[in-house]
């Protein structure tokens, strides 16, 4: 079993549970709505407020998605089956990260227009750069998130714990994402906050490397 097989299995599990996906999107949409009402009706700095709202909504929706993907596996004994099928821990981790990344990307794709409409920000020319920034942020989120979700598997109140541990670890990524999104929507370019792209890339590489080294141990511990 390769990492692609693991990712396909996870995506299939998500796709079968359409009700959960719909709830996830509804959840992030209502977060955007609540915050836009709180900031509005006249926005002081629409780009800044919209950027913070978008990434806050993505974070909380992401935490739900991450725990759900592990729960599904726990309920059906899928984790053991994947290991019996001969997948090494490295492939399992990367496969899961890829699946989580795609899930987060789906939430991003559907939350972005909502935030754009409610705050009246964003335009087509900056969209490709924004997608690049989002890819960088969500890849790091998926890597760190998969690592922490695996660590929190055996715990009670894991959504709570995941938020407590994951959010502080993601701070460099999140500040970077908010700053770049704000710069794009306010000025049309990420040039003024270019350094944050480097910070985000370092956070991505660190998350992937740490998780790749430690995932086998976490897996052994949860057996």
């Amino acid at each position: 079993m390769t990492l692609i097989d693991v990712a396909i299995k996870d995506i299939r599990l998500h796709a079968r549970d359409a009700r959960f996906l719909a709830t996830l999107l509804l959840f992030s949409a209502s977060l955007v709505l609540i915050l836009s009402v709180a900031f509005g009706p006249i926005f002081q700095e629409p780009a800044r407020e919209a950027a913070a709202t978008l990434w806050a909504a993505l974070f909380f929706a992401g935490v739900l998605g991450l725990t759900r993907s592990l729960d599904l596996e726990g309920e059906s004994g899928g984790g053991d089956a994947v290991r019996l099928a001969g997948a090494d821990p490295y492939s399992i981790f990367l496969g899961k990260t890829l699946a989580n990344f795609l899930l987060l990307a789906a939430v991003f794709t559907l939350t972005l227009p909502i935030a754009s409409v409610f705050f009246d920000v964003g335009d087509l020319p900056t969209l490709p750069t924004l997608v690049g920034v989002a890819a960088l942020a969500l890849l790091g989120y998926a890597a760190w998130g998969t690592l922490f979700a695996a660590l929190a598997r055996g715990l009670k109140a894991r959504e709570l714990l995941l938020s407590v541990l994951l959010f502080p670890s993601l701070v460099p990524l999140w500040i970077g994402a908010v700053k770049c999104t704000n710069a794009l929507w306010a000025g049309g370019s990420i040039e003024p906050v270019r350094d944050w792209i480097k910070v985000m890339a370092v956070a991505d590489v660190l998350g992937l490397a740490l998780a790749a080294f430690l995932y086998e141990l976490i897996q052994e511990a949860s057996e």
Binding site: L147, G154, L155, V164, L165, P168, S169, L210, L217
Partner: protein, 223 residues
């Protein structure tokens, strides 16, 4: 340290000696701070907080650094004593980190005219505190055999934030924390004495805390 035996005599003796030395040094450093070190011209007596604040910050870094090293040692050797060192050091690190977080605002109120400001080192240190608080919550909520492995993995992952706290003053512009401080001879001597005092205090507390782990392990083996 053999797990089956109760703490040996030399360990207890060493602990007592260290405690005596630590208390003498702490008393000496307080005396030096009160009488030997001059009163700073601009800030007045409030400046003397530095003799608690800076040593506590240094001990926090040492303690979390030891947690990191001991966590690696546990994962490679699987010996309970390394897990005990990591957990004990992390607990003490938390105590010193709390001292830093309490003494910092007291200083800031006088020096910067505010209790709290979103300044890089303050922010990153607070994040560090929350993360290591999460370490204790995770460790306390796990009772299975996986507890040691999971805490060790966390001890490694969380350490990533330490260099960020350390370097935050240089990386982010607009930091209020001084990069280096010019001090008079008496001030520097008092600060060095305070550092030595709190490091020995930490070592003494570590010996006592490890003794407790030792007794616990021996009791668990007998049960």
């Amino acid at each position: 340290m053999e797990p089956s035996a109760a703490p040996v005599r030399w360990w207890n003796g060493a602990g007592r000696m260290l405690w005596l030395l630590a208390l003498a040094l702490v008393a000496g450093s307080w005396w030096a701070a009160a009488t030997y070190a001059p009163v700073e011209a601009q800030m007045g007596p409030v400046q003397k907080i530095v003799y608690v604040h800076v040593p506590s910050a240094i001990v926090t870094l040492i303690a979390f650094g030891l947690t990191f090293a001991a966590s690696i040692a546990y994962l490679t050797t699987k010996q309970w004593r390394w897990d005990a060192v990591a957990a004990a050091s992390c607990e003490l690190g938390m105590v010193f980190a709390t001292v830093v977080l309490v003494s910092g605002p007291l200083w800031a109120r006088s020096a910067w005219n505010t209790w709290w400001t979103w300044e890089p080192r303050l922010t990153t240190f607070l994040i560090l505190w929350i993360l290591y608080a999460g370490y204790h919550v995770v460790r306390a909520s796990l009772h299975s055999a996986s507890r040691r492995t999971v805490s060790s993995v966390l001890g490694i992952v969380l350490f990533v934030n330490l260099p960020i706290v350390w370097k935050s003053v240089e990386w982010w512009r607009g930091s209020l924390h001084p990069r280096n401080v010019t001090m008079t001879g008496e001030m520097r001597e008092t600060l060095l004495l305070s550092m030595a005092a709190w490091i020995v205090f930490y070592a003494a507390a570590m010996v006592s805390r490890l003794r407790l782990e030792w007794i616990r392990e021996a009791a668990a083996e007998r049960a």
